[in-house]
């Protein structure tokens, strides 16, 4: 199974109708996730990383239109009726959200919520589902799982709630788990525990994980491959090593340069100049050109799509990707 393509997104375009006009949230994204790998999707707020994954889940809402292709195990998901999509959600696709404090229903016991998720897709008895819920709470590292299952969400801490959410998302053993900034709302020590939990889930069940984050530290620690998104487009794609040591896109380089470094004391942080563009009217050509220090004239004219830059699977959208090599040495 490992190595086979699990998720294949081709030329995904998502637009939102708003009172101000059409917001072009995702503008032609291609990506693949193979069985058993963890893919990180990074980018700043509004870069379209969450929207891309919500489109995969079919959870965009009615103000959005999505075109292109989303294939799971070769089966086209885009354009499925809600009723058909529902059979995939929670069973083949699981999702964990950013804010664990509000992702659990306050009026139901945690164990009951997990058991219900199980029963929504599997024909098991209440008692079996409950047992499964307790087992999974144990897997995600909730101590004294049997007793905890009978408690309400408000009796759980933030980290425990997020782990309970992970348990709920994997209860039907999905092939792809989408984690949308799962650690952003948690403090640092708890973040580490939640990431560990995700690792354990991956090892135990062989689940592929799509990890959406803007935390490069999380990326470096967790994922096999990275997709960098900017202004609704994938701008660079490669393994963690490739992205961190030989970035081939000015935006990625800017992201890396803006990180605080432990080996450079006292220096000011280097931000990326400017602000993210409005997606009502994305910049022409390469969307990053208004903020790019290396921008040339052709950058504002020629469309910059993710392309082969002669480094195998390491791909970049920068028109001058090949020339960036000497900069990073």
């Amino acid at each position: 199974m490992t190595g086979e393509t699990l998720l294949e997104v081709e030329n995904l375009v998502v637009d939102f109708r708003t009172p101000d006009g059409l917001v072009h949230a995702v503008r032609g994204v291609d990506l693949t996730i193979v069985n058993g790998e963890t893919v990180g999707i990074v980018g700043e707020s509004g870069s379209g990383k969450s929207v891309t994954m919500l489109a995969v889940m079919g959870l965009l809402g009615r103000t959005a239109t999505a075109t292109g292709s989303v294939k799971l195990d070769g089966e086209e998901l885009l354009g499925l009726k809600q009723k058909e999509m529902r059979t995939h959600r929670g069973s083949r696709l699981g999702m964990v959200f950013q804010d664990p404090m509000s992702s659990l229903n306050p009026v139901h016991k945690v164990g009951v919520q997990i058991a219900e998720a199980k029963r929504a897709h599997s024909d098991v008895s209440r008692a079996e589902a409950k047992e499964e819920a307790i087992r999974l709470l144990d897997v995600v590292g909730i101590p004294d799982a049997a007793r905890r299952a009978d408690q309400y969400p408000h009796e759980f801490s933030g980290g425990m709630r997020q782990r309970a959410m992970i348990a709920m998302a994997i209860v039907n053993n999905p092939s792809l788990l989408i984690a949308d900034e799962p650690t952003t709302a948690l403090d640092v020590t708890i973040q580490a525990q939640v990431l560990e939990t995700l690792q354990r889930v991956k090892q135990e069940f062989g689940t592929s994980i799509a990890l959406i984050t803007h935390d490069l530290g999380v990326i470096a620690r967790m994922v096999d491959r990275v997709i960098v998104m900017y202004a609704g487009e994938a701008v660079e794609m490669g393994t963690v090593d490739e992205i961190f040591t030989q970035p081939r896109h000015p935006y990625t380089m800017g992201l890396l340069a803006s990180l605080p470094r432990i080996d450079r004391r006292g220096d000011k942080l280097t931000p990326i100049a400017g602000a993210p563009p409005s997606m009502l009217k994305p910049p022409s050509g390469c969307a990053f050109h208004p903020r790019c220090s290396r921008a040339q004239e052709r950058c504002s004219v020629e469309p910059a799509r993710l392309r082969d830059i002669g480094l195998g699977n390491h791909r970049s959208a920068c028109l001058f990707a090949e020339q960036l090599a000497e900069v990073t040495q």
């Binding site: 529902r86 959600r89 929670g90 069973s91 509000s102 992702s103 998720a117 929504a120 009796e155 959410m165």
Partner: protein, 335 residues
């Protein structure tokens, strides 16, 4: 719904610091730090203390609401007195005695009317009908209102526009006038109180619908709804398992208040002469009949009226207490 962990603490401080201050004097819980400590020890299961479920938290807050608890006790006594009257009171509301227009006495507790019918027996029978009508209207209008409110709040769009315009239509109709006309059709049929209840329901469900819609509009955006969707939950499941239980507090409070509103509407109709017909009795009808002679035979006017008012006050206080119990964040200082 807000985090109950915090809610509980908020209500606890108010409940303890409010009325308890003077009589009990200095209390350990009056020190903020101490009370917070108490609370934590209560809630943290790691220390072997069982934490409370949401229902128990609500009940506990309700039982601490004095006005509501006093009202609940009085109302229970009144309802028991009304429904059990035939078993403990020696006169029936259908029976003409030999004492005409006698004032309250130990034999006739509330006196008798001009044709010798015992007023206490009549008031109890009238209260029974009022309560039956109030409950029926509350149940029916809650069912209709929650159904309409849930659909409009959840689906929005065309469903919302259509159903809400219909709701508005019912809201702007002059209800008493229309009720009088409709109720008049059932005027001289005995046992028409059930029809009266249905007719009142026709003009009572809109408030529940609007309230439920508002709750649903806010609740449907919560993360746990998105999480449920991500797990493959159907619309029906999201409405039934996730939205409805979270909106239940407001729905129950409003249903309680509907009981008293329906009783008032029935009394008004009966007062105007369009209400339920003999042999059924209504408190509104009794007040209406007694109004002419309020100065000479005061018991025929004041006693049914007083009974009605006390009953309504109790129901409203209970509704008030329930609202505070379900939503302690809106807590005001209460006397």
């Amino acid at each position: 719904m807000p985090d109950p962990f915090i809610d509980d603490r908020a209500s606890e401080t108010v409940a303890e610091a409010g009325p308890g201050m003077q009589p009990r004097g200095f209390d350990r819980r009056d020190i903020p730090g101490e009370s917070a400590f108490d609370h934590t020890a209560d809630e943290l299961t790691e220390f072997g203390v069982t934490a409370r479920s949401q229902t128990r938290l609500v009940l506990r807050r309700f039982f601490r609401h004095r006005a509501a608890m006093v009202s609940l006790v009085i109302l229970i006594l009144m309802v028991a007195a009304a429904f059990l009257a035939p078993h403990y009171y020696k006169f029936s509301y259908l029976e003409q005695t030999n004492s005409f227009s006698s004032p309250p006495s130990t034999t006739h507790w509330f006196g008798t009317d001009t044709i010798g019918i015992d007023t206490y027996a009549s008031v109890m029978q009238g209260a029974t009908k009022s309560i039956e009508i109030g409950l029926l209207v509350a149940i029916f209008s809650t069912l209709i209102g929650v159904f309409v409110g849930a659909l409009t709040g959840f689906y929005r769009g065309l469903v919302d526009a259509g159903l809400m315009r219909m709701t508005d239509l019912f809201l702007i109709m002059p209800d008493i006038a229309v009720l009088a006309v409709v109720a008049n059709r059932f005027r001289n049929q005995s046992g028409n109180w059930f029809m009266i209840a249905l007719v009142i329901t026709l003009f009572a469900w809109m408030y529940q619908a609007r309230l439920t819609r508002a709750e649903f509009l806010s609740l449907r955006e919560r993360d746990y709804v998105l999480a449920a969707r991500a797990l493959g939950a159907s619309d029906r499941r999201i409405i039934g398992r996730h939205l409805l239980p979270n909106a239940l507090g407001s729905i129950i409070v409003n249903a309680t208040l509907t009981v008293s509103a329906a009783i008032i509407t029935e009394a008004t109709l009966s007062f105007l002469g369009f209400g339920i017909t003999p042999p059924d009795i209504s408190l509104g009808k009794m007040v209406s009949d007694g109004a002419d002679t309020a100065s000479t035979r005061w018991w025929l006017f004041y006693l049914p009226g007083l009974f009605l008012i006390v009953m309504l006050l109790c129901i409203n206080f209970i509704g008030d207490g329930l609202r505070d119990a379900f939503d302690p964040t809106q807590d005001r200082l209460r006397a």
